[in-house]
Amino acid sequence: MSTELRPSELVYRGIKGAGIDLVVSVPCVNLQELLCLLSSDPDIIHIPVTREEEGIGVCAGAYMGGRRPAIAMQNSGLGNSINALASLNMLYGIPLLMVISHRGTPGERLVGQIPMGRLTEPLLNAMGIKFFRPRPHEAEEIVKDAWNLAANERRPVAVLLDIQFWEGR
């Protein structure tokens, strides 16, 4: 590893550095450490939601109330969120930071993750959602940049964290 901090800690520092103060989440095995960090932070409201689309709504409302929102989810959740991203965030101009565990990438062991793994980038491209794919040592800065881009352009921006990212590569 190129740094002493673990990948989850670097993502967490990026979220903190961006001033994110409300996070909704649907779990992924790769997000478990990040979700623990978020839950134990008194300055962040962390709401585990039942489905990603629901979380897109909670984040949009939080933004309207003056918060800086983010969603942490698997890429399967992107599929569950597309209409909300389009007809809520993109329609009204509501920013959102999406921290996405990208399953179905090299190293994936579950066959069920492969189709959405392959579809994730094409879906983001089709929606015109900008995304970043940082290495661990870039994650802190890129998460901050992603929020700044989302806020400036008033739209969702994604950070994709593939399986190798969590291995420190």
Binding site: P48, E53, V58, G61, G65, L88
Partner: protein
Amino acid sequence: MRRIDAIAIVAEAAERSDALVVCNLGYPSRELFFVRDRPENFYMLGSMGLASSIALGLSLALQDRRVIAIDGDGSVLMNLGTLATIASFASSNYLLVVLDNRVYGSTGCQPTCTSRCTDLAAVARGAGVRDVRVVSDEEALRMSLSGSGVVVVIVEQGNADVPVIPLSPQEILSRFMGRASQRMRRS
């Protein structure tokens, strides 16, 4: 009770308590705009099912401000998980008003499951919402709007003959956020 009359009663209560309102898409938003437009109303134009979730996020962000979601039975059925999240995380400043006309009213009155056997108040209670009321007349509705939790309002089918909202999404959002960022105007 007609839905537009129920919406007028909710709008009146919202104005009295300086509440922010998130309204379900389609005819409910058009009816709310028609009976009492306020900058404090957020009119949904898409993302069916998410009125309750948007209002939840808003109420978490603004803990000292009252937030009311006006939703429909079809929309709540589309996002049933929201009732569990509301039960677990909503504060006392959050009220979800479900106008249950037992149909998808904006698309031609196709029946929803509440027309057959689903009891949304029981679902909300089962999800863990402590304060759930069911009302079917105007006086009971007025009495039910001061608290938090979930109010299921039994209303008639049918949409009022009201025009489309003449505001762009950007206008709806910017004036809403302008009011949301102001402190409560309580005397």
